[in-house]
């Protein structure tokens, strides 16, 4: 079971009058006065030691005419977190002080809240839209904002198959498409946004006279959104002095598929296949995070056998993710294809197992609240045992033997700085990138969920925080995952695979829950607010890739543009999760 988010400190005693405990049923944490937010947040970090602010998100309580911003702070030494929130009147302009000076990791998350909720964070130096484009009409996650294909507030829609007939969503929209324009809009008179704000936000290299009056100037380069090295549709605007990066801004949203909005219309169960498509390498881990969160809200146990199956699947998923990471890193470094062919060979074997248990290679949709959907057949269990005890350890050794001492690889990776521990925590970086800086922060140990406290394994840590360490830590993690798998396969008991009866709709009591798991990329969090109805009132994903990317600007400043590609690969981003 997940440790409950009980606060270990009492902010009310420390700040009488400005902080109140949240007494709504199902809620925890503290409500802070808007004026005192910065003061309290500083104390939370400095006095109480919550150095890692992982999740920031907003909720639109339209019935109470309130907008709420929720902060989840944790300690990198482990343990339960602290939830604090600010409530403001839902009248434009909604303004809140930014916490970017206290936790720079809130940068993108505050921009997201501005983009999707229209909350202005005063003091934020670069508050532009992040997922949608500048000029987009409205703030889509507000409860009164309706998408063009809006039918009903919640699913299942009544219109899906009326009288045995289907209808096209296009026919219901006046523009006959997924479009909505304000009244009297004239496309011919529209002035297109030239992204001047983006380019203005980039650090500039001031034109200066050098000897002989030759003027030098910066170069602005856009990498992506169609670029082979950006692992999807990420775009990065860079200013360069020669080949050295002086300013850099990622531009994202090219794969923004509106998970949050769709998720709030879906029923709880309908969201599971959508979580598959977040981090599409690790659908099992995503299922794990979401189900853990909802189970926390529902306060139900997980069947014993299912716990083991979940751990086995999540760890297999981690192994194949890290294998792909290594293969793709080699691609980015210029060893086109050969190492990744080795990686994909092993990945296929793991996908075979996923297919055998769930029916799908990639989009497994395998977990259910209280357990999993199907049992593992015995022959598949044998197959996993064979993989874990023989093939995968041998192949990991083989890859290490082939690669690790390669001269070019060492020259490209060794000594090139990624992050130090202080910066990594500051930017809320989690996962292998944080652990490679020497911080042993692994949620499987720091805030154990599921049954990870039963297994004997070490948290993989490396000390230097350079690219080589970031690369090697992935091999360490594969080895540790294999250790967990070996134990899990030995201990797995017989029994039912779900503690609940199969149901189309689950009853979720009102309240909120923030569940987090150690996904292969870092901390994957789900924030779910229920009002007792069959659909979540708020469904928010705190993706590891998105928050880790906050650090990319400080990581890359001063490095060569050729190293940027490798540095980005180190963060192991995946666009489905980053843009959602």
């Amino acid at each position: 079971m997940v440790t409950p988010l009980t606060a270990t400190v009492d902010l009310v005693v420390r700040f009488p009058g400005t902080v109140a405990a949240d007494v709504r049923p199902g809620y925890t944490g503290f409500i802070i006065n808007k004026e005192n937010l910065v003061e309290v947040a500083t104390a939370v970090r400095d006095e109480f030691g919550y150095d890692l602010l992982t999740a920031v998100t907003a909720i639109d309580y339209i019935a109470e005419n309130k907008m709420e911003v929720v902060y989840h702070a944790y300690k990198t030494t482990g343990g339960a977190g602290l939830v604090f929130r600010v409530q403001v009147e839902r009248v434009d302009p909604i303004e809140l002080p930014s916490l970017i000076d206290i936790w720079p990791g809130v940068d993108f998350q505050e921009r997201e809240a501005w983009d999707l909720y229209g909350i202005k964070f005063t003091g934020h130096p670069d508050l532009r839209r992040i997922l949608m484009w500048e000029g987009f009409e409205g703030h889509p996650l507000r409860k009164d904002w309706k998408e063009p294909f809006f039918e009903e507030e919640t699913k299942p829609f009544k219109s899906r198959w009326p009288d045995g007939q289907h209808t096209f969503a296009e026919n219901k929209n006046p523009f006959r498409d997924n479009l909505n324009f304000p009244k009297d809009f004239d496309p011919e008179k529209y002035v297109v946004d030239k992204e001047e704000d983006l380019y203005a936000s980039l650090e500039r290299y001031t034109t200066k006279d050098v000897e002989g009056n030759m003027k030098t100037d910066h170069i602005v380069v856009n990498l992506g959104p169609h670029h082979p090295s950006t692992h999807g549709v990420l775009r990065v605007a860079v200013t360069m002095d020669g080949e050295t990066i002086i300013g850099l801004k990622p531009v994202m949203g090219y794969l923004h598929r509106n998970h949050d909005k769709i998720g709030e219309r879906n029923t709880y169960l309908q969201n599971i296949p959508y979580t598959d498509r977040l981090d599409y390498f690790n659908s099992m881990s995503n299922n794990f995070g979401y189900c853990t969160t909802v189970e926390k809200l529902m306060k139900i146990p997980v069947a014993e056998r299912a716990e083991y199956i979940r751990v086995i699947m999540a760890e297999l998923s981690r192994i194949q993710n890290h294998l792909i990471f290594i293969g793709m890193l080699m691609n980015d470094l210029g060893t086109m294809y050969t190492p990744s062919l080795y990686a994909f060979e092993e990945r296929e074997l793991i996908l075979d197992i996923f297919e055998a248990v769930s029916g799908a290679r990639m989009m497994c949709n395998y977990f259910r609240f209280g357990g999993v959907v199907r049992d593992i057949p015995d022959d598949v269990l044998q197959k996993i045992k064979g993989l874990v005890s023989e093939r995968l350890p041998a192949k990991t050794d083989e890859m290490e033997r082939f690669l690790n001492e390669n001269e070019i690889l060492v020259a490209r990776l060794k000594g090139i700085h990624v992050l130090n521990a202080e910066d990594a925590i500051k930017y809320s970086v989690t996962g292998p990138v944080l652990r490679a800086t020497g911080v042993p922060y692994d949620l499987r140990r720091a805030d154990p969920y599921s049954i990870y406290d039963r297994f004997d394994f070490d948290v993989a840590v490396r000390q230097n925080g350079d690219m080589m360490d970031n690369y090697l830590i992935r091999f360490d993690e594969i080895r540790q995952s294999l250790r967990i798998l070996e134990q899990a396969l030995k201990q797995i008991p017989q029994g039912p695979i779900n503690s609940q009866k199969a149901a189309y709709q689950v009853r979720v009591p009102a309240g909120e829950a923030y569940g987090r798991i150690e996904s292969p990329k870092g901390e994957l969090g789900f924030y779910v607010v229920s009002n007792g109805k069959p659909n979540p009132y708020r469904y928010h994903v705190r993706p590891a890739s998105f928050v880790n990317l906050t650090a990319v600007e400080s990581m890359c400043r001063g490095t060569k543009i050729a190293d940027f590609v490798a540095l980005l690969a180190m963060l192991d981003i995946v666009m489905g999760e980053l843009d959602r």
């Binding site: 809009f185 496309p187 549709v233 794969l255 598929r257 509106n258």
Partner: protein, 210 residues
């Protein structure tokens, strides 16, 4: 392709030169040359791109069909594999890439999202199918399609290429030189398809004020 398929069966060739001479039509020869060297644009959008990569790797090996040469630049590509959800924000880039590809060019919509919007169709930032903008040659169903399904789609594309005739193809037709040019959509308050400007203005004017 073997000789007997390439040759027209109606011509009888003397037995002693059958290994040396083949009688065929220009169309067949031309298509035979093209069908097995369809170079895809190295271009991944979402989940489907991972299955596209998997289809290139050892187990499935798309190279058997001459389609392994992924080109990162559109100028060298013959086929655009739209592998994933097309979002409004991404669409202008996709159209630009398509317009930069030289003829002959083909578009394959891989997966439910590219074909119709798929599970994300209702999303406010999602284009409900790339076929609203680009002429799609082959649709591959699945979410994501397995590598086998992708290869089956590629074979369908080869069948389509086999049936084309130099006489009718647009890229040699002087009048239809720019027949496949797609005007760039604009990102405004929502996605503006410039071909529908007049319609958008009329509908927006008729809208009840919110």
């Amino acid at each position: 392709m073997e000789n007997e398929k390439l040759s027209l069966p109606n011509y009888s060739i003397p037995e002693d030169i059958q290994n040396v001479v083949a009688v065929t039509t220009l169309d067949r020869l031309y298509n035979w040359g093209r069908r097995s060297s369809v170079w895809p644009l190295m271009f991944g959008l979402a989940c489907c791109a991972i299955e596209m990569i998997a289809a290139q790797t050892a187990r499935y090996d798309m190279a058997r069909f001459g389609m392994e040469v992924m080109r990162p630049t559109p100028r060298q590509a013959d086929m655009m594999l739209v592998s994933g959800t097309v979002t409004k924000k991404m669409l202008p880039s996709i159209i630009r890439l398509y317009n930069q590809m030289p003829e002959p060019k083909y578009v394959v919509a891989m997966g439910a999202c590219a074909s119709s919007g798929g599970p994300f169709k209702e999303g406010y930032n999602v284009v409900a199918g790339i076929d609203k903008f680009l002429p799609v040659d082959v649709y591959i169903p699945g979410c994501p399609p397995t590598p086998q399904a992708l290869i089956a789609g590629m074979i369908k594309l080869q069948e389509k290429i086999d049936k084309q005739s130099i006489k009718h193809v647009t890229w040699y037709n002087k009048e239809k030189k720019d027949g496949n040019y797609v005007p760039m959509p604009i990102l405004g308050p929502d996605l503006i398809d410039v071909r529908r400007n007049a319609e958008i203005r009329d509908v927006a004017a008729a809208k009840e004020s919110a």
